[in-house]
């Protein structure tokens, strides 16, 4: 069964890798080159359907949608990556320390965690934005902090199991100190659950950014981001449906690619 499952999963895993490298390529290209200036408005080109010169058409200000998707996806990715970095590094630190040492510190942090996770994350993000105002930096900060509890919980759970294992006892007998045990001996053992969760975290961050920007609370105009573009496109669904499809599909392909890769990793691929 293992072999069978493995070989069939291969297809999805490879598809995920292909999709991920495709979107990453588009985004990287977008940092250096876009066919047109993504923010340049052209009165003559308002709401034009896809054509040879504008493969994905133009928007309500006559801007090239392909250029805007390339640039906007870049913005979304950078924000998402920053969110995961903040969330994961703090979360791993908190989870490792609380999981390994336990005690009252663990109790307090986990209670706090429980309360925080009882708020749906989009709601908390909205509260943050309403407190500190909209904008990309605030989103990164707010969502980054919101990601801490889930990573802390995951890493803590792993640590609680792993710290009882005999190899940790062995390391103690060998004379390894607590920090060495935590970071050299135990932490590498969490990579099997940590790696897929980083990819899933990136996906969630992409979706969260898109959601907030869609509500007009994230990236501010005229900068493009995938959510921002969707929110602008909403009003033109009737006349130029291609406008909404381009950024929307970009989100779908990104999230699909990453989650297929993450699923493959969980199943021991790669």
């Amino acid at each position: 069964m293992g072999k069978n499952g493995g070989s069939t999963y291969d297809f999805n895993f490879i598809l995920g890798l292909l999709l991920t490298s495709l979107v990453l390529f588009i985004v990287f290209l977008g940092f250096f080159y876009t066919p047109y200036d993504p923010n340049k408005m052209e009165a003559a080109l308002i709401n034009k359907p896809p054509s040879l010169s504008h493969p994905l058409g133009t928007d309500n200000f006559g801007r090239d949608i392909l250029s805007r998707v390339m640039k906007g996806a870049g913005t979304t990715y950078v924000i998402a990556a920053a969110i995961v970095c903040i969330g994961a590094s703090l979360g791993i630190l908190v989870g490792a320390l609380t999981g390994y040492f336990g005690g009252w510190f663990d109790e307090v942090v986990m209670r706090l965690n429980d309360v925080l996770t009882s708020f749906p994350s989009i709601l908390l993000a909205l509260v943050f934005v309403s407190l500190f105002g909209p904008g990309s930096y605030n989103i990164v900060f707010a969502l980054g902090l919101l990601f801490v509890p889930s990573y802390a919980r995951l890493v803590r759970g792993e640590f609680i199991v792993l710290k009882e294992r005999d190899f940790v006892n062995n390391a103690k007998l060998m004379g390894a100190g607590s920090l060495r045990i935590i970071f050299v001996h135990i932490l590498p053992n969490t990579r099997r659950v940590l790696l897929p969760s980083l990819l899933i975290g990136f996906n969630n961050a992409v979706l969260a950014e898109a959601g907030l920007s869609y509500l007009g609370l994230g990236v501010q105009p005229p900068d493009a981001s995938l959510g921002r573009m969707l929110s602008e496109a909403q009003g033109y669904l009737l006349d130029s449906p291609w406008y909404a499809l381009a950024p929307g599909l970009m989100i779908v392909l990104t999230v699909l690619g990453f989650s297929l890769v993450s699923g493959g990793l969980e199943n021991g691929q790669g």
């Binding site: 190899f167 062995n170 060998m174 004379g175």
Partner: protein
């Protein structure tokens, strides 16, 4: 329906798991017969195909397994060509099975009573009250003295022995003619093991039920079965009447098994203890002593303000260990053996009393002067799976010595040779090693810093018997070479008597007896020690002198 009627007849059975293009055969041209009223033993190490054979008879093979050829006939009917509905009617009513792991084999969400009764409901028509009465009767039959209470319990609320009995009740309640018992005693304590085997024999005598007993433990088979079959790598190596078979084994493999099986009770009525011949230890001084040691297990208080409670696990222990000896610590699971070991090496700091190494006292939370090292039961758990063997061996040198990188590597290479592995293993991860190789690596990691005292916590319990013997031999060699002192913890009396000079019996956290191995064997003082010895004997079909 004579006494000699053949119930089950397996002919030329071959079972394989397709992997890619080739098929891995796990059962290879097996033929055997089970007569009415007999107990047939199938002996084999893990992976020998004994469980798969039983599952094939039940029609419960894993989905990936394929029956490649052969026939399984039950009272003249070929089970493999039987229609599914017919076959289902046979399961439980005619042939039933006692599974290896009773905890996993019960549904955790239903009461034990409901699950035992379900078997009856599927095969017999009675009223509600009759079902219940019959279930209670069956529970009583298998020696559960409080059947009504067990009936309403959930599987996790029973002890291992009780679960195994309940599993047995479920197997016999519909009155089957053949019971397949797969390692029914493996997870149990030595005293409970004896009782369960006794029960099997009683059921066999009382109801004429045929039993196929599957085990990796030669003593279990030898003690219980009329006839036995030895399996290895999916083939039948040897078969015959039990006493005959093991007294005069014909094949090399069976001889190996008999030789590897613990010596102590194996040659007829005569007893021979093969304790270490090391007599010089008597002149040696004490390497370490424990005085009035109490060890506690911290229990988690409830919530932030919960009071810190602790449970006493070891009560007032006094032990002194002499230079160069092997002191055995024997006890059933839950007797506190491992807790004691952890306290000695300093992994458990919840202690009161004195632990002295070479006259340097370490009290309570103090640091230990001379570090004893430890070899753990499960080598897979004690070797960090993300590190290579070479890294794992070098780590203690990095932490405890000032050796240069070059010196460390030289030391690691020397040590890996000493435990009988080659340099190539240094570049491997623990998961790429077999169980025996892993335990060798773990021993190397413990010995690399030249400890004087090594605590061996069930070092061979997770290994097959042939490997067990090899590891025990290695431990003895290393002891002579480095003049080591061992503290050998085990639940297996036979292993203990093979390697230990002195033995200490632990019962519910208290040391009830501590004396020379020979002395303990011939003149046990405490009732519990006698019981422990007796159950080990009974399994061998012998009686105490």
């Amino acid at each position: 329906m004579g006494k000699d009627e053949t119930l089950l007849c397996i002919e030329d059975l071959t079972i394989g798991f397709p992997t890619g293009k080739c098929v891995k055969r796990v059962v290879d041209h097996i033929s055997l017969e089970v007569k009415k009223g007999e107990i047939l033993g199938i002996l084999g190490e893990s992976g020998s195909g004994k469980t798969i054979t039983a599952l094939a008879v039940m029609g419960l093979l894993p989905a990936a397994a394929r029956i490649l050829r052969g026939r399984i006939q039950y009272r003249g009917r070929d089970l493999l060509t039987l229609e599914e509905g017919e076959r289902r009617r046979l399961r439980g009513a005619e042939i039933s099975m006692v599974y290896q792991d009773p905890m996993a084999s019960f549904n955790p969400l239903l009461t034990v009573g409901a699950q035992v009764e379900e078997m009856l409901r599927l095969h017999a028509k009675h009223t509600q009250e009759e079902y219940r009465a019959l279930t209670l009767k069956a529970l009583k039959e298998v020696g559960l003295t409080e059947p009504l209470e067990v009936y309403h319990r959930y599987p996790h609320q029973l002890s291992g022995g009780m679960r195994q009995r309940a599993m047995l009740a479920m197997a016999i309640i519909a009155g089957p003619k053949l019971v397949l018992a797969d390692e029914p005693t493996t997870a149990l304590d030595v005293t409970t093991q004896g009782k369960i085997l006794q029960l099997l024999r009683e059921l066999n005598e009382k109801y004429g039920m045929s039993i196929v007993l599957i085990s990796h433990d030669l003593r279990v088979i030898q003690n219980t079965c009329h006839r036995a079959i030895v399996m290895k790598d999916g083939r039948i190596v040897e078969a015959g009447m039990t006493q005959e078979l093991f007294a005069r084994p014909q094949t090399k493999y069976t001889r190996q098994l008999v030789a590897a099986a613990p010596r102590l009770f194996s040659d007829g009525g005569g007893l021979r203890v093969t304790c270490a011949k090391n007599t010089s230890y008597k002149e040696q001084r004490e390497i370490f002593t424990i005085q009035n040691l109490n060890v506690f297990y911290p229990e988690k208080g409830s919530g932030l303000l919960g009071k810190k409670r602790r449970k006493q696990v070891i009560k007032n222990a006094n032990i002194s260990v002499l230079q160069g000896e092997t002191l055995g610590i024997v006890g059933e699971s839950g007797s506190g053996k491992s807790t004691l070991a952890k306290a000695i090496v300093g992994l458990n700091r919840e202690i009161e009393g004195v632990i002295k190494f070479n006259d340097v006292a370490a009290k309570g939370k103090g640091e230990l002067a001379a570090r004893p090292q430890m070899v753990f039961q499960d080598p897979f758990g004690s070797l960090n799976p993300t590190k290579k063997i070479g890294w794992l061996l070098e780590e203690p040198l990095k932490l405890q010595t000032n050796l240069s990188k070059k010196e460390r590597i030289a030391r690691v290479r020397e040590m890996i040779r000493q435990v009988g592995l080659t340099y190539e293993f240094l570049e491997r991860y623990p998961s790429q090693l077999s169980g025996g190789q892993r335990q060798r690596a773990a021993i190397a990691a413990a010995l690399i810093v030249n400890p004087k005292l090594v605590i061996l916590d069930e070092p061979v319990s997770s290994l097959d018997v042939t490997i067990q013997a090899q590891i025990l031999r290695l431990l003895k060699e290393l002891q002579d070479k480095y003049s080591l002192t061992y503290l050998f913890i085990s639940h297996d009396l036979n292993v203990v008597f093979q390697i230990c000079n002195r033995v200490c019996v632990l019962y519910r956290g208290e040391i009830i007896e501590i004396k020379e191995a020979q002395e303990l064997l011939y003149r046990p003082q405490h009732e519990y020690t006698k019981e422990l010895l007796e159950s080990a004997m009974v399994k061998m079909g012998n009686r105490l002198p």
